[in-house]
């Protein structure tokens, strides 16, 4: 089986519009969550989020492009441009045929749905713009990346709620490892911070009005974020032969289904995903130095996740570092695993462990080292990224430091 490495990374999120700025924010423990700036905010009871501020689409894209690019596609393309530029790859000739794109998003063009429904329901308009459908579809981001860079191999989008990006990246890893692609552009994007998007989440009564405090006893729920992170996954031999800079190696992936409840997580399903990902990576739990937690800041997730890690890691659970960067960038839903993979890359590349900020009171049900409030400088060789979605869909990735 082929080895798979990461040779490019890019992002747009509430903390920064590139990887370097995001690493800096992680290292400082900076919070990107703030008062939302969106239309009709006065009718929302949730008024905070990890919003990408002052996004000037007109400065980045032409008028014709904007008629086709929903905000989630704009984030996708911006992050993909950074990642592919860093990789140094040009997809001409055979490489274009052997390369694809698989991206995660839970809901695709939510802003386009929202604006169009507003036009026909609230404003009594009888027609919407002709490109509403190609703009809002979940796969639009993947298609535009493929079109812009000439990726003509396996390309599609994955939608598994909060695990979308981890599933997408896991499938990209498997495609290269199994030989059906040489390069896969992968990651995810989400842009749900609009009136309808937040209204829908309010309904669940799991959202915090103040802050995202994962693993803290005084937690008050999750906070939504938006943005994208995109990576270039590449066959190791191909990357090595061209002398590419290798950011990290992807060594394991597993996915499981709880098959039990549409919103409540299960310790068994999460533990099985963690165990199988370690087995796929052929590493023992005590080799793992850092886990980027799903860590949503809800009681249901945090307690279940800690129990699942404790179950699989045994004694090693006491020494592994675990943090939830959602406390800084918010929960990007289908794009979250991609932005969180940046914390994994930072740990491997720079030996800096991103903290769980907003941590105030220890929770006896979360008795692990959650790297509270301050980043830590510790070299690690193997890291893990968890995603446990609504509907019990679990996806766990394992990465290793570039050799």
């Amino acid at each position: 089986m082929r080895r798979v490495v990461i040779t490019g990374a890019g992002t747009v999120n509430a903390l920064a519009r590139d990887v370097a700025g995001t690493y800096e924010a992680f290292a400082e423990g900076r919070c990107g969550i703030a008062e939302l700036d969106i239309r009709d905010k006065d009718r929302l009871s949730i008024k905070i989020g990890g919003q990408v501020r002052d996004w000037d689409a007109e400065a980045l894209f032409s008028r014709q492009q904007i008629t086709l690019y929903d905000r989630f596609t704009q984030f996708t393309l911006t992050a993909a441009q950074q990642a592919i530029a860093q990789s140094g790859l040009v997809f001409d000739g055979d490489l274009g045929d052997e390369s694809g794109v698989v991206l995660g998003t839970a809901a695709g063009g939510v802003n386009t749905w929202d604006d169009s429904y507003r036009a026909v329901y609230a404003e009594d308009k009888n027609r919407v713009h002709p490109f509403v459908v190609p703009k809002l579809m979940n796969s639009a981001g993947a298609s535009h990346v493929a079109m812009q860079f000439g990726l003509r191999g396996p390309s599609f989008s994955v939608s598994t709620a909060c695990a979308s990006s981890n599933h997408a990246m896991g499938l990209a890893f498997q495609a290269i490892r199994g030989g059906s692609a040489t390069v896969m552009v992968t990651g995810g994007s989400e842009s749900m911070l609009c009136f309808g998007g937040i209204k829908a989440w309010e309904g669940l009564r799991v959202m915090s009005q103040t802050a995202c405090r994962p693993f803290s006893l005084n937690r008050s729920g999750m906070v939504q974020g938006e943005g994208a992170a995109i990576f270039v996954f590449e066959d190791y031999d191909h990357a090595h032969a061209r002398g590419a800079q290798i950011l990290a190696e992807v060594i394991g992936f597993a996915m499981t289904s709880d098959a039990s409840d549409i919103v409540m997580p299960s310790q068994e399903g999460a533990a099985r995903a963690i165990r199988l990902a370690l087995r796929d990576a052929q590493v023992a739990p005590d080799a793992v130095g850092y886990i980027n937690a799903h860590g949503t800041g809800t009681a249901a997730n945090d307690k279940t996740e800690c129990a699942a890690i404790s179950e699989v890691f045994g004694a090693a659970a006491q020494s592994v570092m675990l943090s939830s960067t959602k406390s800084m960038h918010g929960h990007l839903i289908g794009g979250t695993g991609a932005v969180e993979l940046l914390a994994c890359l930072m740990a491997l590349q720079q030996s800096v462990i991103a903290p769980t900020i907003g941590y105030e009171v220890a929770d006896p049900d979360c008795p692990l080292d959650v790297v509270p409030n301050q980043a830590r400088e510790v070299p690690v060789n193997v890291v893990m990224s968890n995603a446990f979605a609504f509907g019990g869909l679990n996806a766990v990735l394992v990465l290793r430091k570039a050799a």
């Binding site: 008629t67 009888n126 027609r127 713009h129 002709p130 490109f131």
Partner: protein
Amino acid sequence: MNMQSQVISVQAQVIAIIAEQAVLDVTDVSPAQSLESLGIDSLGLVETIFAIEEAFDISVPFNANEPSKSGFDLTSVASIVAAVEVLITQKAA
């Protein structure tokens, strides 16, 4: 508004819409030209029709599967102007 000024106005507005789609100056769009010769592709055509509907508050009978059977003559800029004028008259009636 008399008929003559309305005719000029419709033509000027349609040309402005088409010129914007074609990324041309209005002076580079003449009534005899076809949309194709102006570089407007099928997506551009759908956007043009949308812009016309919005500008004149009319509904243009157009199906992208059968553009020739739409009952809306898309042969040239002039034919589009004429068809729009008919639709405006029908709406007023």
